[in-house]
């Protein structure tokens, strides 16, 4: 009997595609349940990354939010516009430097962000039952390394 692990030959892109779907599907269901079914593509990442504090979440510089997305400036700005229009984000001028814009979660945005986080937490709890701490570290280290490879290939 071979001692080669059965999953060793499944191509990583295929694994990654399926793995992404589990979060996407769980977030979609959680958002639908919370009445937030009109979040644009990548919008969940924006909402999940902002301060969730209640009742007054902190503002974040729009440039930082946009920069973290890894999208073109135009696409990222359109995404923020859509989230503002759909009442997930509140936008204002930075009171210190009025040339800059800031955003924060609205009540609706916070509802969505909490739903997303709850879905992620549930998956990560399930994941912790299936793999060891060392494997979880490997998962994180491997995924982080892909980002470096992509950046160095001229993203």
């Amino acid at each position: 009997m071979s001692d080669r692990l059965w999953y060793a030959d499944v191509p990583v892109p295929q694994l990654m595609r399926v793995a992404r779907d589990v979060y996407r599907e769980a977030a979609r269901r959680a958002l639908e349940g919370a009445g937030c079914d009109d979040i644009p593509h990548n919008g969940a990442f924006v909402l999940a990354g902002l301060d969730h504090s209640a009742p007054e979440p902190a503002f974040s510089a729009q440039a930082d939010v946009v920069g973290s997305l890894g999208l073109s400036k135009q696409a990222a700005s359109q995404l923020i516009d859509t989230l503002v229009l759909r009442e997930y984000l509140e936008r204002r001028n930075d009171p210190v430097d009025r040339r800059r814009m800031e955003v924060r979660l609205t009540d609706r945005g916070r509802t969505a962000a909490v739903a997303i986080q709850t879905a992620i937490d549930a998956i990560e709890a399930a994941l912790a039952q299936l793999i060891t701490d060392e494997e979880l570290c490997g998962l994180r280290a491997g995924l982080a390394a892909y980002r470096l490879i992509r950046e160095r290939s001229g993203d």
Binding site: Y7, P13, A126, G138, R140, G142, Y146, R147, I149, R150
Partner: protein, 152 residues
């Protein structure tokens, strides 16, 4: 000496890490396609060509896992046939279709494997074999979780 914290050390959620990682293979494979003059492979046709190159038999089921439902399967395969990546043969006895790579399909599959090897080699230079094993196990565990979710 100052230390630099890597992305893996700071807390970034796994879906966020996957978002940042995505496209790494695609970029490398696209470069290999371009080198072979291939610019019209419909997504996710690369997976289909790789399955065929690897001799996989349950292509419809595997494609469904990529988000193409069975009713769309025949149309999707039509596109690959029309663009010269695969051939379709119908069994005269039972009407079942079988597919095979054309020369162009083989060239595209070679590009996929070559692009994948480029990225895998870079990954091996950045993280340990144990971490790569852990990553694969973690991704598979996520796939298992997906399978356990009720179908919507």
């Amino acid at each position: 000496m100052p230390t630099t914290r890597s992305l893996a050390d700071t807390y970034v959620s796994i879906p966020e890490l996957m978002r940042l990682a995505r496209g790494t293979y695609k970029r490398a494979i696209d470069a290999e396609y371009a080198a072979r003059g291939i610019d019209d492979l419909p997504a996710p046709g690369g997976y289909v060509l790789a399955y065929l190159a690897n001799g996989e038999e349950s292509i419809p089921e595997m494609i469904e896992g990529l988000g193409i439902k069975k009713p769309e399967y025949a149309l999707f395969m039509d596109r690959l046939v029309l663009r010269g990546f695969i051939t379709r043969d119908i069994d005269p006895n039972d009407g079942t279709a079988s597919f095979a790579l054309t020369e162009r399909g083989h060239a595209a599959a070679d590009a996929i494997f070559a692009g994948g090897r480029v990225v895998d080699k870079q990954l091996e230079s950045k993280v340990s074999a144990a971490d790569i094993g852990g990553m694969r196990r973690g991704l598979l565990a996520l796939a298992e979780i997906k399978q356990s979710l009720p179908q919507s």
